[in-house]
Amino acid sequence: MTAKKIIQLEGLTKRYGSRMALNNITLDIEPGVSGLLGPNGCGKSTMIKSVLGLLKIQAGSVRVMGYQLPHELRKIRDVVGYLPEDDSFIAGLSGIECVTYMAKLSGLPGAEALRRSHEVMDFADIGQERYRNVETYSTGMRQKLKFAQAIVHDPELLILDEPTSGLDPEQRTSMLRKINNLATQHGKSVLICTHILHDVRTVCEHIVIMSKGEIRLKDTLENLSRPSTSGVFVRVEARTPATVEDKYPDATNFLGSLRATNVEAELREKGSVWVSNASGDSTRQIWQAASAANVFIQQLTPAKNSLEELFFNTVQEAERATA
């Protein structure tokens, strides 16, 4: 049985004048936390706004949580919570009034809207500042406020456009923890639109990479993190260094010992060796070679696909293809 798709796009096309913002995008997003990655101006926000029915699309179909745009737009907005990238607030209101107002606009009855707003503001770590006018809020506070208003009506799907922008490292970790909590403990689906790869690696299960208005890559984080080669990175340390500078020796002896046992290896930076096509036997041979070369093994790391590398390669490929 296939999982219910939270967002289904088919042939989605959006042009701004002669500029193609979204080029015939076909994409299915599964429940869970998905990261929408892409460089600035690649069409991420346009895609999100199209999904929310804020933009009029030229072609294609959009289905969100099973509801079809544009006929079921209201139902879509009922089940979606949106945190916009832009600094957005209602001038003149205090934080609590702003969230309560948004709760009422989402259909929560008066007293319940106020109670619920306090609850989500507690969750969003907004303390007594909630009684202050939103115009006096710092960027980080406004980000938390936008988060609170996005979850106040308990939506099934959260669309968060740059949720950690403007937050300090501690708040950023806290925000990611909250997103993770919503997904894992409360069954919310989340689409995070960002270009901060660390955030994606921390919370996302699925990754979508966009560039030049097209989807370039879509897979699970697990698959994307799986190494494309079976290499091992080895860092060695001298057994008895005379000085601190001698701690990481020239690994030529170690490399020679490895090659003597028919292991494919090459020198990297000082004290480091890359072992290609490593298998189970290679580990034993690496330890033996280290003993023969009279060095310690300080680090032995299996090859891993770096999300950064993958992202840059995908984007560069897209740019080359367009050029």
Partner: protein, 337 residues
């Protein structure tokens, strides 16, 4: 930290209907506007004219039973610019003139003190209604919820209507009630029963086009001060243009000089024609203040039956339509930018 942190909890209550979302925008807008101390002061000030006009109601009703008061009321009626026949009736048979005098007094209340106060109140209330949302991108929060641009505009318009009703409709209705209470004659109820309806209708004639123009000024820019400037410019430019054209027209018809000399200068014209030429010029159509005045005059039954009113009504209708279309367009275009 909260006293009792419950973490995140789901919400499973019943949501209210989509149809009342405009009402939430309206009530929040009214609450927000009330935070302006200048608005509160202007609202208090706006009730002062009602007291003065209320005194005239009292004087008129007293003149029915006390003939010595009639000459004073006649002077008031003449100063108000009503017809000479009405001034005559006030002396001879004030009871038969009651409906017309009451209507004229309420129309004056609408047209002069309240119109000026309306300019101030609407400037305070309406100019930031949409411009602030455009500046702070509040529209992204509004329209990520089940809300249509039309509901948004309706909610914002209602805020303007509410304050206009507070300074125009409500005092006028209270004025009417005070008039009834101060009258020594119970037949006043039968003579003036239709006036509350006319007050409500005249208020609608004023409120709907004025709110649409006010919101259009607010949606014109994200800078509230420019919205304020465009709001006052709209009235001042119309009013000044009218007077320039009026004076030019009078020069053309009657030659130079004051009003009396102009009347004497009307060669071969009857008194009625001269009066018509002085009070009803085709240039009124370029002044929103005069257009509104003529339609309100019609609503109170004081507009001459032989003169056309449709062109004033058409102007109001078109201005309302174009303004609301413009507001909606501005909001939607921001979303699509």
């Amino acid at each position: 930290m909260p006293l009792h942190d419950v973490g995140y909890r789901g919400w499973e209550g019943e949501k209210s209907s989509d149809r009342n979302r405009w009402w939430i925008i309206a009530t929040t807008g009214v609450q927000l506007a009330f935070r302006s101390t200048w608005l509160s002061r202007t609202l208090v000030l706006s009730w002062v004219p009602a007291i003065i006009v209320g005194l005239f109601f009292f004087f008129f009703e007293q003149s029915i039973v006390n003939p010595q008061w009639r000459s004073f009321m006649q002077a008031v009626v003449i100063a108000a610019g009503t017809s000479p026949e009405l001034a005559q009736k006030v002396i001879l048979d004030p009871e038969s003139a009651r409906h017309e005098v009451w209507s004229s007094l309420i129309l004056i209340f609408f047209r002069y003190p309240q119109a000026v106060l309306m300019l101030l109140v609407v400037a305070i209330v309406s100019t930031r209604l949409i411009s602030a949302d455009l500046r702070n991108r509040g529209y992204l929060l509004y329209f990520s919820r089940p809300l249509t641009p039309s509901s948004y505009v309706l909610g914002k318009a209602f805020v303007v209507w509410a304050f206009m009703a507070m300074i125009i409709t409500l005092p006028a209705l209270i004025l009417f009630t005070v008039g009834l209470a101060l009258s020594p004659d119970w037949k006043v109820i039968f003579d003036t029963w239709d006036l509350p309806l006319r007050i409500v209708l005249a208020s609608a004639v004023l409120m709907i086009p004025v709110s649409s123009v006010a919101l259009a000024c607010s949606a014109l820019t994200s800078e509230t001060r420019y919205a304020v400037f465009s709001w006052f410019s709209f009235w001042v430019v119309g009013w000044v243009s009218y007077w320039v054209m009026y004076v030019a027209e009078m020069q053309r018809q009657f030659g130079g000089g004051g009003r009396r000399r102009r009347i004497r200068g009307g060669r071969g014209m009857s008194e009625d024609d001269i009066s018509d030429a002085l009070f009803y010029t085709e240039w009124e159509i370029i002044s929103p203040f005069h257009v509104l005045g003529r339609v309100q005059q019609y609503v109170f039954g004081l507009y001459p039956e032989d003169r056309p009113i449709w062109h004033f009504m058409t102007v109001l209708f078109l201005a309302t339509l174009v303004s609301f279309w413009f507001v909606r367009r501005q909001v939607v275009s921001r979303l699509r930018a």
